[in-house]
C-alpha cells in the first residue's frame, strides 16, 4: 500500500470506505489517480465475521452518540439508535444484505410523475434512467449481481422465500424472484459461491456477498495509488481564501489530530455523517456550513417507508437457513394515485435470528408478556418480509446538530429527525395489508406487523439538483458552491425510490470517478 505525506496536496481525500467511498477509491486508483481514504472505523477482515447477531452489532456498528427525533416511533423506542450503520473498513457493505435493484424510470422523475405534494419537497433528479443504464451495468459487473448483466443465475430459493413465493402465486402475482443480488451464485471474481450460511447481515464469512472490505479497498491499495488510513475520524474540511477545499483535519485512534492536504475532497460518510461534517466545517466564508448556499445540507433525510411482517405458518419453516434476503417481490412498484399514495414499494423476504426477532417484534417498553412470548414460540414456523417503499423528501426530516451535547471528539452530536408523511401512513397500511393477504393465502395462522427498524438505508441529505438553489450537488455529485468538493454516497439522492440504494450509490461513484478524472485532466479541479 502507498503512503502519502500529510503535505501532499496532489491527492484526492476520500472520507469513508463504504459503498460510495470504497468504490470511488478503487475507480480512481485504477485510473492512476492518487487518493487517501480516511475511515473512522477499524480495519476488519473475514476472520472478524461471526454468525452472531449481537456480537457483530457490537463489533462493527457506529455507536457514537446520536439521537432520534421527530414523530416516528423510534424517537421513543430507539432514542439513541436512529440508524444501523457500520463504522469500519468497508462501511455498511459489511452488514448489507446484497439486494441490488435499479431505480425505475419514474423514480428519477418524481416531481414530474407525482406533482407537487403538500408537506413534501419532491424534486426530479438531474439524471435519468437511460443515462444511468451503462453505469448500472458497470456496477453490476463490478459487484457480481445475479441477473442478465452478469449471466449469473439468481440464488436457489430457501424455505422462507418459498412460502412467500407460493403466497404470491396464489394471490395472482408474477414478479417474485430470488434476485438481483450482489451475492455469487457461482464462483466468480475470485470469490466463492454462496453456501446458504445465513447471517448475511452480520457479514458474509466466506465473501460470497460483495463488500468493499474484500473487493474495492484491497484492490485500490494493491495499485499503489491508494492509502487507506483506518481509525481516522475526519472532524473538519478546510478551504483556502478562494473558497476551494484544500485539507481535512482528522483524529487518529489516540485522539491526536492531523491535517491532510488535498487537491479534491470526496465525502462518503453515509447520510448522517456527511452532512454533519459539512455543517461542522462552517467558516467565516461559509457560515452555514460548506456547500450550503441552498440551505439544503442535512435536509430531506429519507430512509424508506418501511415495516416488517412476520407470519406463522402451520408447519416448520426454519427461515434463518440460507440467504437472509432470499427473494424480492416487485409487483407493487408502480405509481398509481388511486392507491392513496405516491410511489411504490417492494416486499423483500428477510430472516431474522431469534435474538433480533425478540428485540424487534414489538420494540420499546411494551414488548414483553404473554402475546410476545407466544409469538416467539412460533419462531421456527415463521416467514416474513421487510417492506420498503418511496419515502418522500421533507425539509423537516433532517440531520441537525445538538445545541449543547458533544461526542468524544468534541463535535456536536447529530440529531436524526424523521416524521412520517401522510403518504407513508397510507403506504404502510397498504404494505401490511398486501403482506398479510399473501401469507394468509398459504395458511398463516398469525401475522405480526413490526414498525420500522433503526434505519439501514439513509439518503438525501446533500441532494442533487440541477438548480443550485434547490440542491447541494450537481449531476456528478460535485458541490454547486465548491468545484473541488464532491459528495460520493447516498446523501446525493434526490429521491429515495422504492428500492435499496447501494447499486445506485456504486453506479454513481463509478460515474463520478470518470468525471473527476476528466475534470482533473482538463485542470478544472
Amino acid at each position: 500500500m502507498a503512503k502519502f505525506d500529510l503535505n501532499d496536496d496532489s491527492v484526492a481525500v476520500i472520507i469513508g470506505s463504504g459503498a460510495g467511498g470504497g468504490t470511488l477509491a478503487n475507480e480512481l486508483a485504477q485510473r492512476g489517480i492518487k487518493s487517501v481514504v480516511l475511515e473512522a472505523g477499524k480495519r476488519f477482515g473475514l476472520e472478524d465475521i461471526e454468525n452472531d447477531e449481537w456480537a457483530m452489532f457490537q463489533k462493527i456498528s457506529w455507536l457514537d452518540k446520536r439521537y432520534s427525533g421527530g414523530g416516528w416511533h423510534g424517537a421513543v423506542n430507539h432514542p439513541t439508535l436512529p440508524t444501523w450503520i457500520v463504522k469500519g473498513y468497508g462501511g455498511s457493505t459489511i452488514h448489507w444484505a446484497g439486494v441490488a435493484l435499479r431505480f425505475k424510470d419514474f423514480e428519477f422523475k418524481t416531481r414530474t410523475t407525482y406533482g407537487a405534494i403538500d408537506g413534501a419537497n419532491v424534486e426530479d433528479w438531474p439524471i435519468d434512467l437511460e443515462e444511468m443504464i451503462p453505469w448500472y451495468e458497470k456496477a453490476e459487473l463490478k459487484m457480481g449481481v445475479t441477473g442478465k448483466t452478469t449471466g449469473m443465475p439468481h440464488l436457489p430459493w430457501n424455505n422462507g422465500f418459498r412460502v412467500l413465493a407460493e403466497g404470491c402465486r396464489r394471490t395472482g402475482r408474477s414478479d417474485y424472484r430470488s434476485g438481483p443480488m450482489a451475492i455469487n451464485s457461482v464462483e466468480r471474481d475470485g470469490r466463492p459461491a454462496c453456501q446458504q450460511i445465513g447471517f448475511c447481515m452480520q457479514g458474509c464469512a466466506i465473501g460470497a456477498k460483495w463488500s468493499t472490505m474484500y473487493t474495492e479497498l484491497p484492490r485500490a491499495e494493491e495499485t499503489g495509488n491508494c492509502e487507506v488510513r483506518t481509525e481516522a475520524m475526519v472532524l473538519k474540511v478546510e478551504h483556502d481564501d478562494a473558497g476551494k477545499v484544500n485539507a481535512v483535519v482528522y483524529a487518529d485512534k489516540d485522539g491526536n489530530q492531523h491535517r491532510q492536504k488535498a487537491r479534491i475532497v470526496c465525502v462518503a460518510g453515509n447520510s448522517i455523517e456527511s452532512p454533519r461534517l459539512l455543517l461542522n466545517s462552517a467558516s467565516s466564508m461559509f457560515p452555514d456550513g460548506l456547500a450550503n448556499s441552498s440551505g439544503q445540507v442535512g435536509k430531506n433525510y429519507m430512509n424508506h417507508t418501511t415495516g416488517g411482517v412476520y407470519a406463522v405458518m402451520p408447519e416448520k419453516v426454519h427461515m434463518y437457513r440460507g440467504t437472509s434476503v432470499a427473494g424480492i417481490v416487485g409487483d407493487e412498484v408502480y405509481h398509481d394515485p388511486k392507491r392513496g399514495f405516491s410511489g411504490g414499494y417492494y416486499l423483500e423476504f428477510l430472516s431474522l435470528g431469534l435474538p433480533f426477532m425478540a428485540a424487534f417484534l414489538e420494540p420499546g417498553n411494551t414488548g414483553w408478556g404473554r402475546s410476545v412470548a407466544r409469538a416467539l414460540e412460533g419462531y421456527d414456523r415463521m416467514s416474513g418480509v421487510w417492506v420498503l417503499g418511496e419515502d418522500l423528501a421533507q425539509e423537516r426530516n433532517a440531520i441537525t446538530l445538538h445545541p449543547t451535547e458533544k461526542d468524544q471528539y468534541g463535535l456536536p452530536v447529530p440529531i436524526v429527525s424523521k416524521t412520517p408523511h401522510n403518504n407513508d401512513y397510507e403506504m404502510t397500511a397498504h404494505m401490511y395489508e398486501t403482506s398479510a393477504e399473501i401469507y394468509e393465502a398459504v395458511g398463516a395462522t398469525d401475522v405480526y406487523e413490526l414498525p420500522a427498524y433503526p434505519a439501514t438505508h439513509n439518503m438525501g441529505t446533500n441532494r442533487m439538483h440541477a438548480d443550485p438553489d434547490k440542491g447541494v450537488v450537481n449531476a456528478y455529485g460535485q458541490a454547486h458552491d465548491i468545484a473541488n468538493l464532491f459528495v460520493s454516497d447516498g446523501s446525493q439522492f434526490t429521491s429515495s425510490a422504492a428500492c435499496n440504494p447501494t447499486l445506485t450509490i456504486v453506479a454513481l461513484a463509478i460515474r463520478q470517478a470518470e468525471y473527476i478524472a476528466q475534470e482533473m485532466n482538463a485542470r478544472n479541479i
Partner: protein, 195 residues
Amino acid sequence: MTIRFHRLSQSREDRAGMSRRMFLMTTTLAGITTGTLLGRASLAQGAGLGEAESARLLRMVQDIYPHPDLLQIAHYQAIVDAVVSNADDDAFAALQDGLARIEAKAQELFGVPYTDIEDPDAREGLLRHFQNEGFFQNVRWTAYFGIYNNKEIWPLFGYEGSSVEYGGYINRGFSDITFVPPGPTLEERLAEVQK
C-alpha cells in the same frame, strides 16, 4: 386468530420514561451479553435479596417472558441471579423498592400477594403498571438476553444459530419444507437470466 401489533402512540408516560430508557437501550445495544451476565451471576448466586423478594423476582421474570412449556425454572433462576449480581447499589435499591411496590399494588388490586395471583393475565396486567420504570426494564432486558440471546436455549425455539462452521445450510435443509412447491431448478434459473 390474527394478532397485529400496531404503531405505538406516544403517551405522556412514555415521554417521561425516555431518558431512563435511553440509558437502558444504550447499555442494551452497547452489548450486555448473556455470557457476561450469567458468568458473573454464577459467582453471586442471588445473594442480597430476601426469600420473599427472590420469589417475587422469579415470578416476575416468568411473567415477563412466560414459556411454561419450553423453559425450566432453572432458566429463570439464572436470570434472577444475573439481575442481582449485575446491580450496583442504586440499581439494587431500585429493584427492592420496585418489588415492594409490585407487592403493594397486588394487595391493593387483588388483596393477595403477587406470587399468589393465579390468573396470568392479572399478573401481567399488574406488571404493566411498572413497565416504564427503570428497574422493570432492567429486569426485562436481562431476561431478554438470558432467554433469546442464550445459545443453550436457542434449540428449544428451533433456532440453530451459527452455521459457518458446518458449511452453511446448503446441504443442511435450507430448502427442505414440503408444504409448498420447490423453487425453480438451476436450469430454470439459468434460462431466466439469458439475454
